[in-house]
């Protein structure tokens, strides 16, 4: 009983965090604060997923999105000199469009995950798993047995995308002042250091 109430309290805290930070992403004055809000949004979402016993997905969300993707985002946003007035321009002219899209998405969401199609009648509440239930093992079994073809195809797609990105960014071997590692490693002491034997100074005869 008490754990139920606690779970609900935690859920609403995280849910408010997700919504609030998502609003901050689009309304933040500073792009860096926007990126940070997105990080907060991911973290709060991971919290909700952990409440649903999907700890593998939640931790992967943090490792991949918070740890890698958003770090690179922040990296780029920090180094760009963004003009804030440029970003705010066109807000009014785009507003009707945005509103139409929002209403469309809301209707769609309500239709798909609304009480009619996504309520307890359609999907029963998941049964509690035993304490030693391993999320990772369950996910791995499904991914590598039932869903193995979609999984492999997704992997191949990602590989293609990666090769394409590298090909687009690679501008060929030009005459760059690049450090040649092999020649650096091949350097030995004799190439760099020359010992010169200086005879020690002669003693003046007339010094006392």
């Amino acid at each position: 009983m008490i754990t139920n109430i606690l779970t609900q309290i935690i859920f609403y805290i995280f849910a408010l965090g997700v919504i609030g930070s998502a609003l901050m992403v689009v309304s933040a004055k500073n792009p860096v604060q926007g990126v940070l809000s997105l990080v907060l949004c991911f973290v709060a979402m991971a919290g909700i997923w952990i409440l649903l016993h999907a700890e593998f997905l939640a931790l992967i969300l943090i490792v991949v999105y918070v740890g890698a993707v958003m770090t690179l985002f922040l990296f780029v946003v920090m180094t760009l000199n963004l003009d804030r007035s440029q970003l705010k321009r066109g807000l009014v002219s785009y507003l009707p469009f945005g509103l139409i899209i929002i209403i469309f998405i809301m209707i769609m969401l309500f239709y798909v995950v609304g009480p009619a199609h996504f309520g307890l009648a359609a999907y029963a509440a998941p049964t509690a798993q035993p304490a030693n239930y391993s999320n990772v093992a369950a996910l791995g079994t499904t991914l590598y047995s039932e869903e193995v073809y979609p999984f492999e195809i997704a992997g191949a797609l990602l590989l293609v995308a990666m090769i394409a990105a590298i090909t687009l960014a690679y501008r060929g071997r030009r005459n760059r002042k690049q450090v040649k590692i092999a020649s650096q490693l091949a350097v030995c002491r004799e190439d760099r250091i020359k010992l010169i034997g200086l005879p020690s100074e002669k003693k003046h005869e007339d010094t006392p």
Binding site: M1, I2, T3, L6, E55, L59, G67, A68
Partner: protein, 342 residues
């Protein structure tokens, strides 16, 4: 479960957190003292010797000094993020200790995805450094944080791949089970079958904590102190605490993943095993942590700082290919139960 049971459980968890945080903080204090003494010994100096016997209370004096100093916020800094950054760097450094098993069953949160939790927490560490550099609105600080961010992203991949090898070998993501999978004596610990991954993990661990010889993020000879150049007083002290508790954490993780955690090194040796059976597991674990902490200081005293492009080359072109190859080797060995380890 009723209310009183829930409250009692909560109190136990809080007590457990205190029982972890307090020794970690004491460990950090001892570590700063040990660093100065060990470096002094290796440089043939004396080191701190004024406060208390052999300068033993020097860290306390330093802490009191930091507490008394004023925290100066630069006029052009982004104040909220400037204050937030040290918090973001210490919080994950301490939170990651929750899943560390100190001995059989001595763990606060015995979760199944322990390795993933540790990876998630350590990946948060980049934010503290990145944001502190940006919020300070200073060129040196920004340079330090940019260097550190690129370095952390590069070495996190090598670190993650090294851990995939450990997961493959142990067949589990739970830290306690990874340790138990290594039982059977010193030659069953993963440092031997996973030797390349052990070396890669150790190097990336040093790099992830921004320590010498990979400390270009601080780079005091080029960019003053890097990301925390604008921080003073306890705001700097928090960064300092985070760096040292991260070093202790990496030492603990290396011991868990590759050196059998709390397992006795004398296991499987007739005679010695029974003689030393009375030593509790936590002592062996502490000895291993202290050894790797000492290694940090040894490395710092021995090697000059890497050049930035060489750090990047080592991370992307040397360490990641090594881990990729060894993952395949481990996967084949684990699949076909190749002797002597599987």
């Amino acid at each position: 479960m009723n209310l009183s049971q829930a409250i009692i459980e909560l109190i136990w968890i809080v007590l457990g957190i205190i029982a972890i945080i307090v020794p970690v903080m004491i460990g950090v204090l001892a570590f700063t003292y040990a660093e100065r003494k060990v470096l002094a010994f290796m440089h043939v100096r004396i080191g701190p010797n004024r406060v208390g016997p052999f300068g033993f209370f020097q860290p306390l004096a330093d802490a009191i000094k930091l507490l008394h100093k004023e925290i100066i916020i630069p006029a052009v800094a982004d104040k909220f993020i400037f204050i937030l950054a040290p918090v973001l760097s210490i919080a994950p450094a301490l939170a990651a200790w929750a899943v560390i098993p100190f001995a059989q069953g001595w763990v606060l949160a015995n979760i199944n995805a322990g390795i993933l939790y540790v990876l998630a927490m350590t990946s948060f560490g980049a934010y503290g450094i990145l944001l502190s550099g940006w919020a300070s609105n200073s060129k040196y600080a920004l340079f330090g944080s940019l260097r550190s961010a690129a370095q952390m992203v590069a070495y996190e991949i090598a670190m993650g791949f090294a851990l995939i090898g450990v997961m493959l070998a142990a067949g589990s993501l739970n830290l306690s089970q990874i340790v138990l999978a290594q039982s059977g004596g010193i030659w069953h610990w993963y440092w031997l079958p996973l030797l390349p991954l052990f070396v890669v993990y150790l190097i990336s661990g040093v790099s992830e904590t921004n320590r010498a010889p990979f400390d270009v993020a601080e780079g005091e000879s080029e960019i003053v102190a890097g990301y925390h150049v604008e921080y003073g007083g306890m705001a700097f002290g928090v960064f300092f605490l985070a760096e040292y508790s991260n070093m202790l954490l990496i030492s603990a993780l290396v011991s868990l993943f590759f050196l059998g955690g709390w397992l006795s090194p004398l296991q499987g040796i007739p005679g010695l095993e029974t003689w030393f059976a009375w030593v509790p597991g936590v002592i062996w674990f502490l000895i291993k942590i202290i050894f790797f902490s000492f290694l940090y200081l040894w490395l710092r005293a021995t090697f000059p700082r890497y050049r930035y492009d060489q750090i990047m080359r080592l991370g992307w072109k040397v360490l990641i290919p090594i881990t990729l190859i060894w993952i395949v080797v481990v996967a084949v060995a684990a699949r076909f139960n190749l002797p002597p380890w599987w």
